[in-house]
């Protein structure tokens, strides 16, 4: 738990989306992935700003592709990013321990 600062929601989503897109993680693809999973619209500007911030913090790295098609900035998750994701998830699980989903649904039904 030493230098771990919890990730923001968008940061977490972006990091996970980079993992899920596996090697095809450029800005628009990351946006599409998050939209696909969460079902909510996301502005491309917000995605790029977050990607940059994560790279500057050292959680993501980026490099250029020079293959066929347009040159793109592709992202990959760095060890520090993987650690942060794992910690965030662990924290969330601890937080949810003892809360039963069934009970929650019963509550939601009122």
């Amino acid at each position: 738990m030493s230098d771990f600062t919890p990730l923001g929601v968008l940061e977490e989503q972006v990091l996970v989306a980079v993992l899920r897109t596996r090697g095809e993680a450029y800005g628009m693809e990351v946006r599409r992935e998050i939209e696909r999973v969460t079902g909510r619209d996301l502005a491309i500007g917000a995605v790029y700003a977050t990607l940059d911030r994560l790279e500057q913090k050292g959680l993501l790295g980026s490099k250029r592709t020079f293959s066929d098609g347009p040159s793109r900035r592709l992202f990959d998750v760095r060890p520090k990013g993987a650690r942060a994701l794992a910690e965030t998830r662990a924290m969330r699980e601890r937080l949810w321990q003892g809360v039963s989903v069934n009970g929650l649904l019963a509550l939601a039904r009122g």
Binding site: M28, D41, A43, G45, Y48, A49, R73
Partner: protein, 875 residues
Amino acid sequence: MHSRQKLAMAILRALLPRAERDEVIADIAAEHASIESAHGTGAAQRWLWWQAVRSAPALLGWSWWRNWSGFEPRANAYRPGGPMLRTWISDARYATRRLRARPTYTILAMLTLALGIGGTTAVFGVARPLVFDPLPYAHADEVVTFWMPYWWTEEEFVYLRDKYTGFQSVGAQRPGDVTLRFGDGPTRLLPGRTVTAELFDVLGARPMLGRGFNAGDDAPGGEPVAVISYGLWQELGGQPSIVGQRLTLDGTPRTVIGVMPRGFWYPDPSTRIWLTKQLDPTSRNGSWELVGRVAPGVDPRNMQPHVDHLMSVLKDRFQYSIKGDKTQNGKMIPIRETLLGAMRPAVVATFVAMGLILLIACANVAALMLGQVEGRSSELAVRAALGASRRRLTQQLVVEALLVGVGAAVIGGALAAAGFRFLASSLPIGAWRENATFDWTMFVVALAVAIGAVLLVVLVPAISLWRGDIRGTMSSARMGGIQGRGGRLEQGLVVAQVALAMLIVSGAALLVRSVSKLYAINPGVETSSVSVLDILASSDETDAARRQKIEEVNAALAELPGVRATAATGKLPLRGKGNSFGITVEGAESQERTTTYFRIVTRGYFDAMGIKLRDGRTFDISDRQSDSGGVVVINEALAKKYFPGENPIGRRVRGGFTGSWEIIGVVADVSEGDLTDDPEPARYYSAEQVDWFGTSATLVARTNRPEDAARLLDSMRRTVNRVAPGFAIQEATTMSRVLDTAVGPAKQVMMLLALLSTLAMVLGAIGIYGVISHFAARRKRDWAIRVALGLPTSRVLTNIVGQGASLVALGILVGVIGTIALARLLTSFLYEVGTLDPIALATASLVLLLLGIAAAFIPAHRASTVDPALVLREQ
């Protein structure tokens, strides 16, 4: 692609960092196309716009952050170009670094500018309701007040009511302060106006609750009604049910029929209540002011035919004395002029002075910046040689100046907030203080002024940059700048600063002279140790009962510790003219009928006010009430006018009260009306003997020590509340404050200008010091060579000081010319001092010259004590 879509794309394009622009735009276009094929053009278009709008803040923040932090992703290495705003942002960073590295310069520049900005902003806040805000009346330019050689009477108003031409309606108002008892609280005095039924129609103002006055309200038999202000409504609980309720005003109940909206005021913001009275068509009681709204289609600036008509109507019906002739010189005055005219000169004078300070501050900062630019000339030259364009160098200057400006605006806004109360209380704007509010718009003004100021400031170094031969500087820089003549611009700035300071200082000097002359007038009364309490008795008591009560209070006040003498009077000296009545001298009935001032006082009045007895005696306990007259005390002016070369003691006069009145004493003249009036005849009656007192009276108490005069007021207040709970206390003050008020706005404006001139002089001295030290530093090598060749160091000193003095002298000369043009602003405050008073101008010049020499001496001394060997080796 649709043109609207193109626009969205262009926005996105503009906001994206250049290194990644093409790829991101390509991705967006691809996504757009796929949405279009799947969901149709409309959906795709909505999506694109949504992306553009929602991305904009994030992209802007992103650009800024990248440039500020210098972060550039590894993937973008070797890619050309940077984001938009790049140069501006990097200039801001550079300027911040530079400013931080030169804290003295930064702080000096910001503080100097902040003083000017803060002051101007504060004055703007005070002046706004007076100069800029519209009057709270519908089409205020159609409302005019009638000419007034003397107040209008009820008789005149009622007579004229159906005889106006060119007016839609005409109303009248006069002062009508009333006492209010509400709940268990003490009786309080409400600033109010007695008005006629038409008044609110004339002003075009509607109550927000209830109704305004109707035609019958001021007719005989009309119900007593009142309209209250929003402020009073709030104080009384702010319930709409107030309409229809009764308030006890002046001891009698009145029905509240309406509440005026917030922001409405007439004739000044302190007025809390408007009342009607039953107009008496035969009453010659005065003090009404007539206001009218011109009829549709009539030009309010061309009312003369209607005025002429009115004057002829008046001529047919009334006889006027020469002094108060309303059938001559009639004219209509725009209401703005009537309400605000008197205060404007003071506000405008302060505004101008403040603007001058701002200009001085600008000149100062410009000189500072110029020094910075010249100090950096080699750096600039190197950068120019490496390819920096002049445009870019100027842009850097502008960014730096803007940063200084923003800093100055923040400090200035804070200064304005702090100085605002002071300004509002020290400007002679009376009840307007209530309208002067400080709010966030002031900070907007501060920022606007600051940006305007820095753009003005940056003009100077920018000009020098564009004019100068940057590349040439490099070669000369190595030489140590022996050619260094130049600096014209800087010198010009010093001259301008001194000239501006001269304007303010000489304005202050003029007012100091004028005010000291006013204070030198002897008002004839003791001013240092007299406490003054104005009371208002309700009018529902009989005259005699009221008189009795006043005497009781007076006796109770005399018991207070530290009091030497007490008295009551109907009219205090130095506070306007008061009542006059006709006088006839027995044995000289053929004399022309004239009037004199007429004062009713209690027995100890002359003692309490320190009015000297010249002859005979004053009132004493033997002067009892009688039906056939009594005794009267006259002043020297009356004795001189009616009894030239005779002894008035023992003679009898008639007029005013019935019977014949024996003159028992002559007292010294006092300033009956205004301080600057010549002595005028006045006679004094004993309240006890006439058994009468008006509803408003002034209690005076002479104390043993001057410092007790103010201290006594609280116990006086308590005594009045205890002995006569029905009296409302209108004002508690001292005679020295009364004198200050009589001296008038001149003193307040003088104090402000004195303060501002100190500010101007400090700024001016900083400017002279800065420019001269820069001048001395630039020619250091020059001086060193000359000293090495045998020039005595004292010559260095005199030369540099002389340089400073000649600049200051030139500035003074320009300033004097400016003063001649601007001093007209101050004429209304000047008493027996011309606008070109040589003493004031000479004093101001001398002060500035000495200050300039002193400011130049420091750098001169420093330059003259430098070891030439060191200087020459250094370069």
